[in-house]
Symmetry: C2
Subunit: 208 residues, 2 copies
DNA sequence: TCATCTAGTTAACAACTGTTCTCTGGATTT
DNA sequence: AAATCCAGAGAACAGTTGTTAACTAGATGA
């Protein structure tokens, strides 16, 4: 199935990725709606007009960045939520996952947090869609849990959204703590753990 | 105590407010980091250089907007959280408050949601500080509740942050639903109500 | 009344923006 | 080997940006 790319398409994809990387870097200190096309091409070392060979506009590049940041995350979510150990362990594992992801891809996380409510509508829409997919997947995993007996689909989705939003808040807090001390990060982890725990307790006593 | 302003200072404040209003309007379709000083003065009908009589920079104006958007909200939060009726009623009242505020000041709400993780650090800091104050105040009100017996300060603050974040998420959802039908808004209200309820149940069964 | 103060104006600056059109040289296809 | 394709370069465009300096006219205070 895998077709070895010609040296032409390979070079094109390389440039495209360089544009994405440069944009992501520049977006650490501004938002997408103020990012200039020339700014990005300058950072890559390529002519401004070359940009149009890859993206129609900056908004278009932003949508591609959403795919890059969230697209590959779906399997990870699935497996993390579905590990059927104790609730405590599941929470600890989820928070570890978030902390690790923030550590490994801080710029991606910042981009999502920033542009989720940012000034570029197509990007906001793309993020909303991806998060809705996450919620649907979490709901699917929750449904398998015996504790979800008697729960309506609506209630399961409401809980799934609560979890997803909570994950995003936690990721954002880890991001802020990245420039802090190890103790700061530990504090974030502990608060997030207790919040998740409280939600799980609410779930357990929910009048299904 | 109130000192009648001279006609000079009065006119100055009027222009300053016009700048803030114009900026808020322009920010409905972009983020602060892309807002131009000339863009704002043009919208007001004033020379670009007049801007400097009121703000050092756009970031400075942004911080003033944070104060305008959140500063006057503290008393409302206090009284809403502290009404000592049943938990159900308290939740309904809180969500009504949020829906009403989003209806009355959509641009302010959008601004806060957008710039909380936006590209302008001083503004992010100002928002974070105000939200931390909210959390502290909510914590203070929660502490008065007999149900909080045995709770540590840390746990109370963790719960307060959970409530504050949940309020922001709800406000943002109401904002999206503003352009939708009445049924959309009703659905947001119902989901938010159940989420708050679940958190309250978790609180009730928390191992203090 | 007269001197001072100051919110807002005007003009000019170098630097930057997105977009268009034309061109080129190396990869691809025939 | 020849014809085609196409990612990227180069130059030019009108329009925009933040910031400076010197100004004016009306309010303020002595």
């Amino acid at each position: 199935m895998s077709h070895t790319l010609g040296i032409r398409q390979a070079q094109k994809q390389k440039t495209r990725q360089a544009l994405l990387d440069a944009a992501l870097g520049l977006l650490e200190e501004q938002s997408l709606s103020s990012l200039g096309l020339r700014e990005v091409t300058r950072a890559v070392g390529v002519a401004p007009t070359a940009f149009y060979r890859h993206f129609r506009s900056i908004a278009d590049l932003g949508v591609a960045l959403v795919e890059e940041a969230l697209g590959s995350l779906h399997p990870m979510i699935r497996t993390t939520v579905s590990t059927a150990d104790s609730s405590e362990e599941r929470i600890a594992r989820a928070i570890e996952l978030i902390a690790g992801h923030v550590d490994g891809y801080p710029a991606h996380v910042r981009f999502i947090a920033r542009e989720r409510h940012g000034g570029v509508q197509p990007v906001r829409d793309a993020i909303r869609d991806q998060l809705a997919r996450f919620a649907e997947e979490v709901k699917g995993e929750l449904a398998k849990d015996p504790e979800s007996e008697g729960w309506s689909d609506d209630d399961l989705l409401m809980l799934a959204h609560l979890y997803v939003d909570q994950m995003l808040i936690t990721a954002s807090l880890f991001l802020e703590a990245l420039e802090g001390t190890e103790a700061d990060r530990e504090r974030v982890a502990q608060v997030a753990t207790r919040q998740m725990k409280l939600i799980s307790i609410g779930r357990h006593h929910w009048p299904a």
